[in-house]
Amino acid sequence: GAGVSQTPSNKVTEKGKYVELRCDPISGHTALYWYRQSLGQGPEFLIYFQGTGAADDSGLPNDRFFAVRPEGSVSTLKIQRTERGDSAVYLCASSLTWTGSTDTQYFGPGTRLTVL
C-alpha cells in the first residue's frame, strides 16, 4: 500500500515568511509524528498526534512552530516568521497505534526547507 507522503519535497522561502508543510500518513495509522533533521544530525522529535489531538508537543522549539491534524489523518506543520536556523529536512512518520505497545514508525521522504 501507499506509504507516508509529504509535500512539497522542497521549499525555499525568505526569512520572515510563513510556510506550511503537509503530511499524509499511511491509511489507518492513528499516530503521527513530526521530526526535524539538520545537516549531519539525526532526526529530532517535534510533536506527536494521537488522532486529532497533539498529545506531546514538547519538541517544538518555540511558538513560531505549530501543527494541526483536524480530521485525524493529514497533518500540517506551520512555521511563522521563518529564520535561517529553521532550514532542515522536516520528516513525518506514522504508526498504527498509540496504545503504549511498541509500534514501528514509518517515515515519509521529508520536506527540505531552505530559508534564505
Binding site: 539525526g42 522529535f45 511498541t102 514501528t104 514508525q105
Partner: protein, 115 residues
C-alpha cells in the same frame, strides 16, 4: 536528558568487508531500540529490538541488544555498494503521557562501500 550516541560517525570500507556499527544509549524509560537506513531522505525501518541477547537477522544484516550495558550493534556482512547509506539508531522513549512513543535518534553512521 535522554541520549543516543552512535559510533563511528563515518566508515569507509571495500565491497565484501564486514562492518559493525555501534549504538549506546541513556534514556529514562526504555521501551525499544530501532535501526533505520537512510539513503536519501526517508529513513527506512530495519530492526526493532526489545529484549537483550536475541539476535534479529535479515539477510546480511543482523542486530543485537544489550540492556544491561545499554548498547546495540548492527552488523553487515559481505557489504555491497548498495549498503552505502546513513544508519540511524533510535530509542523509543515514552513521554510522560501514556502511549506517546517519541524516538530519540543518534547522529547516525555514514557508511560508504567502495567497489
Amino acid at each position: 536528558e535522554d541520549k543516543v550516541v552512535q559510533s563511528p560517525l563515518s566508515l569507509v570500507v571495500h565491497e565484501g568487508d564486514t562492518v559493525t556499527l555501534n549504538c549506546n544509549y541513556e534514556v529514562t524509560n526504555f521501551r525499544s531500540l530501532l535501526w533505520y537506513k537512510q539513503e536519501k531522505k526517508a529513513p527506512t525501518f530495519l530492526f526493532m529490538l526489545t529484549s537483550s541477547g536475541i539476535e534479529k537477522k535479515s539477510g546480511r544484516l543482523s542486530s543485537i541488544l544489550d540492556k544491561k550495558e545499554l548498547f546495540s550493534i548492527l552488523n553487515i556482512t559481505a557489504t555491497q555498494t548498495g549498503d552505502s547509506a546513513i544508519y540511524l539508531c533510535a530509542v523509543e522513549a515514552p513521554s510522560s503521557i501514556q502511549g506517546a512513543q517519541k524516538l530519540v535518534f543518534g547522529q547516525g553512521t555514514r557508511l560508504t562501500i567502495n567497489p
